[in-house]
């Protein structure tokens, strides 16, 4: 796939998520104790290990070390590491934390059981920091920290809660990776405009996915936070699955014109290409990026 589309970055996962088997017919429990259910073309957590607050006292998080974390990175480095940048992925503090409790329950914990919420966030942060170090040791050139803070219209929690609970722990993850000597990109879906100032003051090197439909607009980010690289940008909620050739090309040209000058724009789909995207549209996207994305861009 990477060869066909001549991608400059290859993503190699740390295998921390779950046994991602889209053909599974039964629920599966992963190493965190989360229950994963596959429905149609997608899978989702439906069961969570810390059911009652006191369950956290006996909770054993998974081991961050071991060959399975680094297998993909090591393999990718060996086979294509000379030509391609290897990007690996860890989570930030929030996602593994809410996945111990369930999203709605965790968002209520912020009010009802604040110390439990903090303990869940610490479990997540401690784990991700160790995995990130392992991945860089194994040869990852870039680390993407995936942690969704937004939904379509705004943040999952108030900016004040985010600043108190998430930001210090996120900084710890970012700083550890930076000390290892590789760039860090934050992936957060949704409308995160209210925390972009905070993020720009961390040591982050880049942002992903930049959803213009959620008011995170590449051209505006470029103006306001020129230091931050932009990774992604091509809309997967509308343009890529449903757009015409003209619409896809126009979006890409517009993004390159508004956010590409001086560099710092790494284009591709905002997120995993969903199974409803026609292969032709992926080709149109790649060709348009190659065609319009030639320097100098004014």
């Amino acid at each position: 796939m990477y060869e066909i589309f001549d991608s400059d970055i290859v993503i190699a996962g740390p295998d921390v998520f779950y046994p991602w088997d889209v053909y599974a017919t039964e629920d599966k429990v992963d190493e965190w104790g989360r229950t994963l259910r596959v429905v149609g073309l997608y899978s989702e957590f439906v069961g969570f290990p810390i059911k009652r607050p006191e369950d956290i006292d006996s909770y054993e998080p998974p081991d961050p070390y071991g060959p399975k974390r680094t297998r993909e990175v090591t393999g990718a480095k060996k086979s294509i590491g000379e030509e391609k940048a290897i990007m690996s992925v860890v989570n930030g503090p929030l996602e593994p934390a809410w996945q111990l409790r369930g999203l709605s329950t965790f968002l209520k914990d912020i009010y009802l059981h604040p110390s439990l919420a903090e303990r869940c966030l610490d479990i997540a942060t401690n784990f991700e920091v160790e995995v990130a170090k392992e991945l860089v040791d194994a040869g990852a050139d870039i680390i993407m920290v995936g942690d969704d803070y937004g939904h379509q219209g705004g943040l999952l929690m108030s900016p004040n809660h985010w600043r108190k609970l998430i930001l210090p722990r996120l900084k710890r993850v970012i700083n550890v990776i930076k000390r290892c000597g590789v760039p860090v990109v934050l992936h957060s879906d949704g409308n995160i405009t209210s925390i972009l100032d905070d993020l720009s003051r961390t040591e982050l090197d880049g942002l992903n996915p930049l959803q213009a439909s959620c008011e995170v607009i590449p051209g505006e980010i470029k103006k306001k936070y020129p230091r931050l690289a932009q990774v992604g940008t091509v809309d997967i909620q509308h343009t890529l699955p449903f757009g015409t050739r003209k619409e896809i090309e126009e979006e890409i040209r517009n993004t390159i014109n508004t956010a590409g000058s001086g560099g710092g724009l790494i284009m591709g789909p905002q997120h995993a290409i969903q199974p409803d995207v026609p292969v032709e549209n992926v080709e149109i996207m790649i060709n348009a990026i190659r065609k319009f994305g030639r320097y100098p861009i004014d």
């Binding site: 149609g40 209520k108 999952l156």
Partner: protein, 212 residues
């Protein structure tokens, strides 16, 4: 009496579970009808919560928390509520469409609708078209509400609407849709009556329909 109703309203608006439960107990003890405690107390607090969300003071976690506070209050009032006292402003059948298990938004809409006085039939997640059709036949809702997070499953909404047309049920219900990829243009394209950008707007649209 108005003091207790005021406290009910404020404690829900301030996401204060204990305060809400305490005020519910006091309301019952002082002879305030449970219906009034809901409609003139907690429901007004929920209205403030919605306004704060729209004003950017509250976020998703506060909406979910408010729904929890309201539920905790209802636990105290419910045993004393007589079905005939409850004035239902409308009936809604709601579900996440087939192929999609995401339910945070759908659950929130369901709870906020209940708080606003709707009778809600929650069909759950991964709901096939025939189940939506069955619910329209059996429950005779005024409104059919569908949710999805994924682009791969949003076309399932189209299928449900087509099915309501084929079975002659389309004119019996208003249809509202919501979820991350949903836009007013998409609603128009598939023949839904409205698209809601969030849970608060969904409730406002449904209330407006019932006033017509």
């Amino acid at each position: 009496m108005s003091d207790i109703l005021q406290r009910l309203k404020n404690s829900v608006a301030n996401l204060d579970t204990e305060g809400t439960q305490k005020a519910c107990v006091e309301a019952l003890e002082s002879g305030i009808s449970p219906y009034k405690a809901v409609s003139e107390g907690m429901a007004r607090g929920m209205k403030i919560v919605g306004e704060k969300y729209e004003a950017g003071e509250y976020f998703l976690s506060e909406l979910i928390m408010a729904a929890e506070v309201m539920k905790d209050g209802m636990k105290i009032l419910e045993p004393h509520l007589k079905a005939e006292d409850m004035k239902i402003i409308g009936k809604v059948a709601i579900g996440t469409v087939k192929g999609d298990l995401h339910d945070v938004g759908k659950n929130l809409v369901a709870t906020l609708l209940e708080a606003a006085g709707f009778e809600v039939t929650d069909l759950g997640v991964d709901v096939p078209a025939e189940k939506f059709i069955g619910a329209i036949r059996e429950r005779e809702p005024d409104i059919l509400a569908m949710s999805t997070l994924l682009t791969t499953t949003m076309t399932g909404m189209d299928a449900v609407i087509n099915e309501t047309e084929r079975t002659g049920l389309r004119r019996k219900v208003k249809i509202i849709i919501g979820g991350a990829p949903i836009t007013p243009e998409y609603a128009k394209k598939i023949g839904a009556d409205a698209a809601a950008k969030d849970a608060v707007e969904a409730v406002n649209i449904c209330k407006k329909w019932m006033e017509q």
